[in-house]
Symmetry: C2
Subunit: 185 residues, 2 copies
Amino acid sequence: MPPAARRVNRGPSAAPQNRAAILDAARRLFADRGFLVPLSAIATEAGVGQGVLYRHFPTRLDLAFAVFEDNFVELEAAAAGGGPDAFGALWAVLLEQTVREAAFVEMVVEARSSAPAYDGDDRLRELIARTLPDAVSAGRVPAGVEVDDVLLAWRMVFGIVVTAPTPDAARAHVARAMALLDPRR
Amino acid sequence: MPPAARRVNRGPSAAPQNRAAILDAARRLFADRGFLVPLSAIATEAGVGQGVLYRHFPTRLDLAFAVFEDNFVELEAAAAGGGPDAFGALWAVLLEQTVREAAFVEMVVEARSSAPAYDGDDRLRELIARTLPDAVSAGRVPAGVEVDDVLLAWRMVFGIVVTAPTPDAARAHVARAMALLDPRR
DNA sequence: CGACTACCGGACAACACTGTCCGGTTCTAC
DNA sequence: GTAGAACCGGACAGTGTTGTCCGGTAGTCG
């Protein structure tokens, strides 16, 4: 049998591939079916047994933390530039992530009660606090808008996304909502 | 045994009381534990068997429709006055209902896919369409706000409520959000 | 008073998800 | 090549929810 068809998900060296396959499958299913998708479905989608999934990620939150760590990396990158436009870039990425994966928000909310040490809120808050002042100074964001207001707007966007019939509708509705929130209308 | 202690939830004449007890219990548990609270928990809370619950309400949505029919009655009453203030009254009641019972929104969303004939959205839309124009004319609501924008704002409020740690926090956050949406800030 | 009807209530089977366990396979070191 | 360690994968028991079923009870009518 040619090497291409050899099973690669057995033995010690397969652990990294299996881990990656689980993360990929979890990202897809979190996006498609929500944060509470059965873990067994993720294992099946990844082509591994449930034992493998539970060894790599003992709880749903452990898995979600690993999946959405990428989101924080993306957000850090968007905010990294600094200056008056950094906040807008951060916000645009956050909106896109939320429309694509509402489970990201569900994870942060769930972690608040189940894993207080995780502090997803605080990581976001820090990024916003770092970029918002320059945007306000430059008039990109109305005076009086605080860091918590941005987190509040994020939660509103979540409400739109989870009640929208389709992702495309969600995108359109979020755009409309942003226009309503913008005082320069 | 005195009549006061006599069991009243047996026999044909008990049906109305049982039905009412189920509706009361369902309203409480929908509010406390969300739309997906186990039906068996509602039966227990109402002090009836599961058979009784399923006879009166074959599905979760049938039960929810009956529970939240009261909400529509309240909304109709708020909108009934007419004039430029009717919309504000309607909106205030809708906000209060949403903070108190986020399951109301979950029901409307769920019904869109599972029971399209129900049209909770359309009943709301009709009430808004009836009251919004006068409010816009009187300057109570900015020009350019459409009926769908109000439904969008409702979904945003839902997002705030379901991500808030407590009902009191939800109320405060909704108030802040309304201030942000108001262009006269 | 007796029989009939409507209805109650809990038990129960079916189903789904979680988390664990162990036989079996693959890699690695010697 | 061989032994041992690491790891895979599916089966399995435990748990919780759903929806049904039937023995038994309360009201009603002749």
